[in-house]
Amino acid sequence: MKQNFSIVGKPVIREDGYEKVTGQAKFADDYKFLNQLYGVMVRVPAAHALIKSIDYSALKNLQSKIFIFDSNDVPGEKKIGLIKRDQPVFCYDKIVTPGDVVAMLVGEDEDELRLLARKVKIEFEQLPVLSDPTKALDKNAPLIHPEFGTNLIVHYPLRKGDIEKGFAKSESILEETYTTPHVEHAYLEPECVTAIPLEGNKGIRILGSIQNPFSARKMVALALNWPLTKVRIEQAELGGSFGGKDDIMCVLSARAAIAALKTNRPVKIKYTREESILESYKRHPYIMHYKVGYNRDGKIKAMKIDILADGGAYASMTPYVTWRTVVQATGPYEIENVWTDVRGVYTNNPYTGAMRGFGSPQPIFAQESIMDEIAIRLEMTPDEIRGINGYHAGSITASGQKLEKHDVNLLSVIGTAVDKTNFRSRWIENKNKNIIKIPTHKIKNKPSISSLILKKDEFIEPSNLLRKGIGLAASFRGCSLGAEGIDAAASYISVQPDGSVYLLCGLAENGQGMRTTYCIIASEVLGISPENIFYLEHETKIIPDSGPTVASRSTIMGGASVKIAAETIRERLENLLYLKWNIPPHENLIFKNNFVYSESDSQKKISFPELCSLAYGQAINLAALGWYPGPKVHWDEVHGQGPAYFTYVYGCQVAEVTVNIGTGEVYVDKVTAVHDPGRVINLLGAQGQVYGGVTQGAGYALWEEVDKHEGFVRELNFDQYLIPTSKEIGEIVPIFLEGEDIYGPWGGKSLGEPTLELTAAAINNAIRNAVGERFYNLPINLEEVLLKRKLRPEDLTRGSS
């Protein structure tokens, strides 16, 4: 089904490009309001403690007026949360992680407030700290939220076939453990929000770096005990989010709103980088045990998976994140017998929630590493083993879903990636060359320094120091929310008499460029240029709740709703023309280049503005609301079976690395990323997603880690939390293989997250290829490569060794 598009699929520059390169785009902290106050947080220097008393006496008799807010000032629910209401707006009886806030000081001078915050005396009693998630379910483990009676946030089982029989029938069994760390989103803009009380009982306006305005609205309304209508959330230009400006912004919005209403003045909360990293949630660390039964012919017979996710102090998105994990944990492989358990638990660590990838990068790291290990044991190449087991049309997934109604392009993306990189022969060549092992040293509990010195026979020749490796990883990914949430999106379009157009979707721009995507979709339908479209600011009061902007659902859900809205208008205009030109309905009318004409009679032609003016004159409604409810999905909680997502995308990335085995440094030379995102709407935007996602994925592979020591975070700023600079990553080559689908705008699906989820696994496989050793723990930093241990004072739970 080849379609002739005028603009879809072409590289289109961003509609907000001008504002961004001139620095005129207004981010949350760029707004300033008359009489604005600042809010600064008061915290307890502990990870788990009972709050005995808070003494504000040091704030008395100050020259400047300071307002104090704590839990007593919360008029509505004291605890909020998008899935589970376990996160206090202000902590009152206890704190459960170092980021927790017990009070907020509000006043005119932010710097002064920061000094004063340190003077608030909090009497507290330390409780035992639970930092190791593997101990969370022990009988004597301290309970993080005693009211739940357990530290278990969620447990998802998945049962398919007969696992014991499956192993019994397998010729070989491989068992391995992999771990991944806490990861910070590291959006470049720290959190900022201002709450502005509206005069005349009109409620409150909240303007901030908010990823999901509707979520924030719900939480603020809950904390204020107000109807949703009185809480107006407006999104400022968002300086990156990657899933990270959700729960944290709900809490900050609630705090700001409470203070603004009490003081009757605008209150701004603006986080420093340190506070941002301290309090905001992270990517879940996973501990993943995989047991795989397979036969000599490469066929995988059985897979048993046990995954533990550290949810940290609050549930946040843990129930949804881990659900995606249970659906996708086997990877894109058809396996008869699967037994999976995924658990999320509370600890005193920073809480964990949504982050680009959302429960997929972790299992992909484990499962794609294991696939390579099996291939190596069977003397196959990585693409061979995937070819034997990979999904194709009609395959049945681990949850028993038949893959149909879309191109199941897994084997094509793998094939393309392999061909484009000459993968096979290079993989084999490296493997044969790199047989010398890295000299590693067993480090005993109390190492004597001298025993660590390389022995003479372990010295490596300089010419042999740099090793080349190539590795691949593949995945399938369910689009949008799946059975984890209510899935629908709305768009509003209003065509003006002069042919210019207002457009707004209920999903929010997070920097990924989806406003541009929506403009392209509306332009394509109406045959106009994207420049004629004026994209409105996202505000909860003018567009229906479309759920959160997560799960790479902007294009497939939001895009589909834009298309419906635009098509509604187009239909009305067409009907008008059928009458006007006296042609039979359903004769093809072409909307192109700002004109509308009849396919059969090019004399019948009218410019788009003229047509709009005509329609307006005839009292035709030129505004429409597009509503796209996601197709039905279903999940059986007991057996973990059901059609989890209504459609899937497929991807394969090949990483090429150089490893310095003298120092442990890994250089990423090139990543080739082949993705089937369905229809590509904006080529420039799609490529941008790949470059950005792969780079983040490389950071995940090699450097990024928030190290929590007894719940405390050490990497509080970018000097310690290292994300890739422009010099770190070599070439990234995006390749798109557009599969057909019946859902989404012209089959446009998802890309944002698939680009990130594969990279760490591909890099790990490339390192394995380079040095002949498998690494089980992310990040694979210098010390991991050289000594098989982490750059940290003590080893926490680690993977296989």
Partner: protein, 471 residues
């Protein structure tokens, strides 16, 4: 009261001189294109350009406004994104839009300023350097591909042009035309400059600020109301010269000035390359040699290099002077053999003799824009194959920047042989006392130092060493 030009506007302000330029720009001038992402020089969202009058010409450099005290811009031209904007997009801006160089856009003004700054600071343009000029800017969204393409595209406008001038940049719309008037305006402005700042005698009891790249990371809040003494413009403390067979570097000389010094390039041809691993360009534009030494961080790169050159510090309190070996300067973790009123006027070391060798090694978690896990430098003189002089330093393996005295003793008067090198590395690892921290465990650092000592010899004397024998 200080006076400076902010973009096209002359500013006279009584604001505290210790506040950061970033806060002044955003909070007092309400120019919000300059962003705050980390407040410690690591993200580049706050990048601005500073133009200073040197020999009646304005020389620009990029800097992190979050680490720059307001007091340091007296008599200068400060350029933010707003000062680059024109009615139409500049070629740099247009290239960034066209090539997909912006997504969320929070980092973007910083990139525009860095890249525009590149054209303003280089007469000969090449794409690789243009990309390099953004090494202090971090972007979390774009993966840099579009940004790099934009840099290449904007350099292409100068293909074939040998030298570019401010006029060229104005003609090609890289800069607004008010830039042409800046030299004249700065000359007028500098007449107002507070003369007491420069030179003769040191004012008492003031906090000394050089580049501020350590001070403002560590404690910017407490500096706001301090009585600060800015030395980055004190001419007596700047410059690189040869005196009495010694190379002398003024205490307020920046890393960039060291990188580009013809004298140092002559004697240490690799130094420029080595220093590319020091921070980022805007950091190097501000970071000074005196700051690096006095900050006493065990992994200071310049200190590490200077230790291996067996440098002497020239201290002064304005009245009396004193000299001390750098290796004797460090008494313990961040404790120095320095009186409160003493400043480092200069550092000097002997010109390398004939048949001498120098090498610097640095390993960090992230290759660029990261401080070392371990660093090491070695200077060595040979005479008839015998080591007649040698100094080796080791950073990140002790509470102080370490001079490896016993390793030196061992190596003196020996032939370079596999045996000797291997033993030297072993001795080096016995001189250190590393701790486990975010940069690596003690064990890893020990291992790394040994590798770096071996690396010095392998790099400098590949022909003398039979690796086969060494193993």
């Amino acid at each position: 009261m200080i006076n400076f030009i902010l973009n096209n506007k002359t500013i006279s302000t009584d604001s505290p001189l210790g506040i950061t330029l970033l806060d002044f720009i955003r909070k007092e001038e309400h120019l919000t294109g300059t962003k705050e992402g980390c407040r410690e020089g690591d993200c580049g969202a706050c990048t601005i350009l500073i133009g200073d009058l040197i020999d009646n010409k304005v020389k620009y450099k990029s800097a992190n406004s979050c680490l720059m005290p307001l007091g340091d811009v007296d008599g200068k031209h400060v350029v933010t994104i707003e000062g680059i904007n024109q009615d139409e997009l500049t070629p740099v801006q247009e290239a960034l839009v066209d090539e997909g160089g912006t997504q969320c856009g929070f980092c973007t003004p910083g990139f525009v300023v860095s890249l525009t700054g590149y054209f303003l600071t280089h007469e000969a343009i090449n794409p690789i350097e243009a990309i390099d000029s953004m090494n202090g800017n971090i972007c979390r969204c774009t993966g840099y591909a579009g940004i790099k393409r934009a840099a290449i595209k904007s350099t292409s406008l100068f293909n074939g042009l040998k030298r570019i001038s401010t006029e060229d940049l104005v003609n090609k719309k890289f800069l607004p035309d008010y830039f042409l008037e800046i030299p004249k305006r700065l000359i007028e402005l500098q007449k107002l400059r507070d003369k007491s700042k420069s030179g003769n005698g040191l004012p008492d009891k003031r906090v000394l600020v050089s580049g501020g790249t350590d001070l403002y990371v560590q404690k910017w809040e407490s500096l706001i109301d301090e009585d600060l003494f800015f030395i980055s413009d004190v001419n007596e403390l700047k410059g690189i010269s040869i005196e009495d067979n010694r190379i002398k570097i003024g205490g307020a000389t920046t890393v960039s000035e060291i990188e580009n010094s013809p004298i140092l390039q002559q004697y240490f041809p690799n130094l420029k390359n080595d220093l590319r691993l020091f921070g980022s360009i805007p950091i190097r534009n501000r970071a000074t040699i005196g700051g690096n030494i006095v900050n006493a961080s065990p992994i200071g790169d310049l200190t590490n290099i200077l230790l291996a050159l067996n440098s002497t510090l020239h201290l002064t309190n304005g009245k009396s002077k004193r000299e001390i070996f750098l290796k004797d300067f460090y008494k313990g973790y961040k404790t120095l053999d320095k009186l409160e009123d003493e400043i480092i006027a200069a550092v000097s070391f002997r010109i390398p003799r004939e048949n001498s060798f120098f090498n610097f090694e640095k390993v960090s978690k992230r290759t660029y824009l990261d401080i070392a896990s371990v660093n090491s430098s070695m200077y060595l003189e040979l005479s008839d194959g015998i080591i007649v002089e040698v100094h080796i330093s080791a950073g990140g393996v002790a509470p102080i920047p370490l001079y490896l005295a016993r390793t030196r003793e061992f190596l003196l008067n020996k032939n370079i042989s596999d045996e000797v090198i291997s033993d030297a590395a072993e001795i080096a690892t016995s001189e250190i006392s590393p701790i486990s921290d975010a940069r690596g465990s003690a064990e890893y650092k020990t291992l790394l130092l040994r590798q770096l000592i071996l690396a010095h010899f392998i790099k400098l004397f590949p022909e003398l060493i039979d690796i086969g024998e060494l193993v």
